[in-house]
């Protein structure tokens, strides 16, 4: 049993994005999703700092210091892209215009609560960025995170233990072990990696899991 790599997790999240969707990718692992957008689909990436139609990193020699993504890395713009100010950018987010937000998380609860901005015992200044706006406003919030903490701690929880970003907003979770949906009937397992069964997944997951009738294996390609 081999857990997915970060790139494979990003790949898996990318496969669910549909042609024509407007998608915001959070900083950190979600940014990798842009590397695996399925060919043939036009997916419009929104960046909170006032960009629609954001492309990937620039080729050497084509860098523009005035064109960065939300993680402050250099970016590019696709034909059809546009620039606008921060207020319009968050109007898009809060107003329900973003189809899918993919964010990282520390914890997600059985009812879709999201905790991804503050940890216990962090001595640095706290930062929230646009996470609460996205949690409140995106049509769908999907989370991309390791199934468990480095110390083996639970991250899919009955109830979040860390400060909330938003309540009941997460609809789907992509981890290195599984794809899970947050539903009224609880956390439903849609996909698992090769070699994993429900019992093994349940052992590392706090809330009671429900296996979907049509569950399947995640067929992620090898990505270097």
């Amino acid at each position: 049993m081999t857990p997915l790599t970060r790139k494979q997790m990003a790949w898996r999240a990318a496969q669910d994005l549909r042609d024509g969707q407007y998608v915001n990718l959070g900083i950190g692992m979600p940014t990798l999703v842009s590397d695996y957008l399925p060919p043939g689909r036009e997916i419009v990436l929104h960046s909170e700092n006032g960009i629609l139609g954001m492309g990937g990193a620039p080729k050497q020699g084509e860098e523009d210091r005035d064109l960065i993504n939300a993680g402050k890395g250099l970016a590019t713009l696709l034909p059809g892209g546009s620039f606008f100010h921060h207020n319009d950018s968050f109007l898009m987010i809060r107003g329900g215009h973003i189809d899918v937000s993919i964010m990282g998380a520390y914890e997600v609860s059985a009812t879709g609560d999201l905790a991804n901005w503050a940890t216990d015992g962090d001595t640095r200044a706290p930062g929230v960025g646009g996470a609460m706006d996205l949690a409140a406003g995106a049509k769908e919030v999907r989370v991309l995170m390791e199934h468990n903490g480095k110390d083996g701690s639970q991250r899919i929880r009955q109830a979040c233990t860390l400060p909330l970003t938003g309540k009941g907003c997460v609809t789907r979770i992509y981890t290195n072990l599984a794809v899970l949906d947050v539903t009224r009937d609880g956390i439903v397992v849609r996909e698992m990696i090769e070699g994993l069964d429900l019992d093994a997944l349940q052992k590392v997951t706090e809330p009671k899991l429900v296996l979907a009738n049509d569950w399947k294996r995640i067929g992620a390609p090898v990505l270097s």
């Binding site: 620039f83 921060h86 706290p126 409140a136």
Partner: protein, 220 residues
């Protein structure tokens, strides 16, 4: 004749006083009026409240202003941008107060100040501890938090081109917070790369109309 172009930073910042609130544009290191913000240090004003999405990177611009001990308080959404050495050090010894605001709320509060809006309800943060002590209201079955306008005594912004009336255009993602801060500053000062003839900017493509701008100063 209207000529908002001033010569040098002293003229650009004239009238700033202790305790003022400064709205400083930029997202990460892009679209920040570095030289203009650093010129504030020379004025000798203190106890400033600085409103800025990040807390500056490295030791330039807003980071330099904070490092110089001029700011009593920072209102921001994400003081953890690349290289947040200055804010981390000050925060560790509690030498600066931080008011953390969701990014969209930060922008919307400034817009409200510029737009004559007395306050508004947003869903962002309503379910969280950032709403502690704030008015909550259920609207159509969803919880909202009441947020108040955030005006600035000065807005220190960065634009690409200006004319002598103060019309502004920006380059790519360097636009970010600058137009909304221009609306919310009692005195708005724009540091620009280039000053063009009146009428040279396409009137259909001007992003910040002149009415929001009080002074224009060229990047040295």
């Amino acid at each position: 004749m209207i000529n908002k172009v001033v010569d040098g930073f002293a003229a650009a910042l004239a009238g700033m006083k202790d305790g003022d609130t400064l709205l400083c544009g930029g997202f990460g290191a892009v679209g920040e009026a570095f030289a203009l913000v650093e010129a504030v240090i020379e004025l000798g004003v203190r106890d400033l409240t600085v409103v800025c999405n990040n807390a500056g990177s490295g030791v330039v611009g807003v980071a330099a202003l904070i490092k110089a001990g001029k700011a009593r308080k920072l209102i921001c959404s994400y003081p953890r941008s690349s290289d947040p050495q200055v804010i981390d050090e000050l925060y560790a010894r509690r030498a600066i107060e931080i008011e953390l605001v969701p990014q969209g709320t930060l922008s919307e509060r400034m817009r409200a100040a510029g737009a004559g809006i007395g306050g508004f309800f947003t869903r962002a943060g309503a379910d969280t501890k950032l709403a502690d002590g704030k008015e909550l209201r259920e609207i159509d079955g969803k919880l909202y938090v009441f947020e108040k306008p955030l005006p600035g005594d000065f807005a220190l912004i960065k634009a690409h081109r200006a004319d002598r009336w103060g019309n502004l255009v920006y380059r790519k993602s360097a636009r970010n917070f600058n137009p909304v801060m221009a609306m919310a500053g009692k005195t708005t000062v724009a540091q620009v790369d280039e000053i063009v003839e009146l009428g040279a900017l396409d009137p259909d493509a001007i992003v910040t109309p002149s009415i929001f701008v009080d002074r224009v100063v060229r990047t040295p």
